[in-house]
Symmetry: C2
Subunit: 320 residues, 2 copies
């Protein structure tokens, strides 16, 4: 939960007057999200989300993210759409932070993942990958293989505080990934963080995707691997083959998954585990005492990694 | 900022179906309030606040609070109104916590207090006191003089960690209060916690009062004293006589303040300082490391106390 920057009512009213959104009637900090400060903004006309970008988001990347949301929304993807001010700009400043207003997306994220959620997610992910195709801007994935080596170097001395032998296990895995990471697979714009709290539903219908602040250009199948990890494991650590099969087949009906992409899923899923294991480990070792945000458990991703290490091929994910 | 209890989407939908409020389309935790978990709930029909009462609020007191909001709203006070379910009940249970839905109140609380805010607050406080008159339920003030002695006993050994000599200073003040606390002044239902973040404005108009979870029966002038402390000191610790005069005169135009009440303002304000000094001191000494809520500074109220100790009479508050 997070509101790092407190927005004063008078500063907000001056800010909002730069947009054609009507009189501000309420603005409440939202206790969700860990990277930025988010406010639910209500005007006489509609509801919006006001985001103040905190220091973990690079200012230089914001035009990529906001432009991508515009691009996707114009291609029928249900996602927050940046509101442009009277001067045409979507990105400006508030309380010394870069800030933007986006449209409010209805729906709730599922706390208890059901198989039908995974099917809808697979379909939406494939549509997202298709819709991203024509987006002209580019942003390399800043949290891919090279970054994992850097994060490993920055955490290896203290990783044993979380679990004895953890640094060695990560080093060995980085070796495997270095030898086996695929190239030449279909690439494009990926979300790169499509966890359940970024996917909204109304009833059984998926109503939209949010939080594009890790979006980048990378292998499309890597985005699938991230979702397999985030959606198809049960809380007891077991892998739910039914959910995985539904996700992949729903994805494939929109954008067929190639044979090489299928074959690469185990190594991509291992990489996706290493990515979240390392960023969580870094946050775990470096979060200030008394921080408002409780760091997530890195070891959840170690357990998932070990599952994928035993997978002999796509069959492990329920595919024949 | 606070959301202590995470509400699952499916549990919420079942819960909301007990009310005639329409389909739930969104529910987001609000990063405000320190006692309870609050969610902004949107349905196809309107916006509401869903509150889950956490352990600091006594379950037995909830009917008093919810009934009071009903009573005040029916007498024209702009405040959240409990939504009654199809069975007539406003109070039920969600995720193992007592829970209620109240109407959503428009407006924003003022971060930078202007004199005009104080005038509107004085008027609203007087109207609140008048409207509370006919409320039949009673709730003694659980944070009045007796409780201060208990809180002093519970904090005196470690108060020096916050400031050397603090326990002695509090003990001396409790002695003065014991000899001089007024009785026989007009009493009734008071809000008892009407800080700026509980008072909403739209433009210069006061749009409503929230958070009645400290409301109780006590001296009406004690509520005025709490507001003098909360609204009329500047951040540098100085007392703003203009704000105090505006607050008191606006109050007096609605409910005339008696001569004994005026005369008692310095001691009531001292008591109000001791109340917040002690509860903040207790929280400061007892908050768990890593708690989500940053405890408020007790010494802010020591400085205010010292101002009131030098006040010879109501003249110190800008009254002739």
């Amino acid at each position: 939960m997070a509101v790092y920057t407190e927005v004063a009512d008078d500063a907000l009213i001056t800010f909002a007057a730069q947009y054609d959104i009507g009189e501000v009637i309420s603005c409440k900090g939202i206790a969700e999200g860990v990277e930025n400060s988010n406010y639910m903004l209500r005007t006489a006309r509609a509801a919006y989300i006001l985001t103040l970008y905190e220091k973990r988001v690079s200012r230089a990347d914001l035009p990529f993210f906001l432009g991508l949301m515009d691009h996707l929304a114009s291609r029928g993807i249900a996602c927050p759409t940046p509101v442009h001010g009277r001067d045409g700009a979507a990105l400006r400043e508030l309380c010394g932070r870069p800030a933007a207003i986006v449209t409010f997306l209805e729906g709730m994220w599922p706390r208890r993942i059901q198989p039908h959620h995974c099917a809808r997610l697979g379909e939406a992910l494939a549509r997202l990958h298709q819709a991203g195709a024509g987006y002209p801007a580019r942003r390399p994935n800043g949290l891919s293989v090279d970054a994992w080596h850097r994060l490993h170097a920055e955490t290896q001395e203290r990783a044993h505080e979380v679990r004895p032998g953890l640094a060695d296990e990560i080093a060995a895995e980085l070796g495997v990934i270095g030898r086996s990471w695929p190239n030449g697979l279909p690439a494009g714009v990926i979300h790169a963080d499509l966890f359940p709290d970024n996917v909204f539903f109304r009833g059984e219908a998926l109503s939209g995707l949010i939080d594009f602040y890790f979006a980048c250009n990378d292998l499309l199948a890597y985005d699938i691997a991230i979702c397999l990890n985030a959606w198809c494991f049960e809380s007891d650590g077991s892998f739910n083959v039914t959910k995985a099969r539904l996700m992949l087949s729903a994805y494939g009906k929109v954008r067929p998954i190639g044979a090489e992409e299928f074959a690469a899923l185990p190594i991509l899923a291992r990489g996706a585990c290493v990515r979240f294991l390392l960023t969580r480990l870094f946050d775990w070792l470096n979060h200030p005492p008394g921080a408002m945000v409780k760091p997530k458990d890195p070891l959840e991703y170690l357990a998932k990694l070990r599952f994928h290490q035993t997978a002999r091929g796509p069959g492990a994910y329920g595919l024949g």
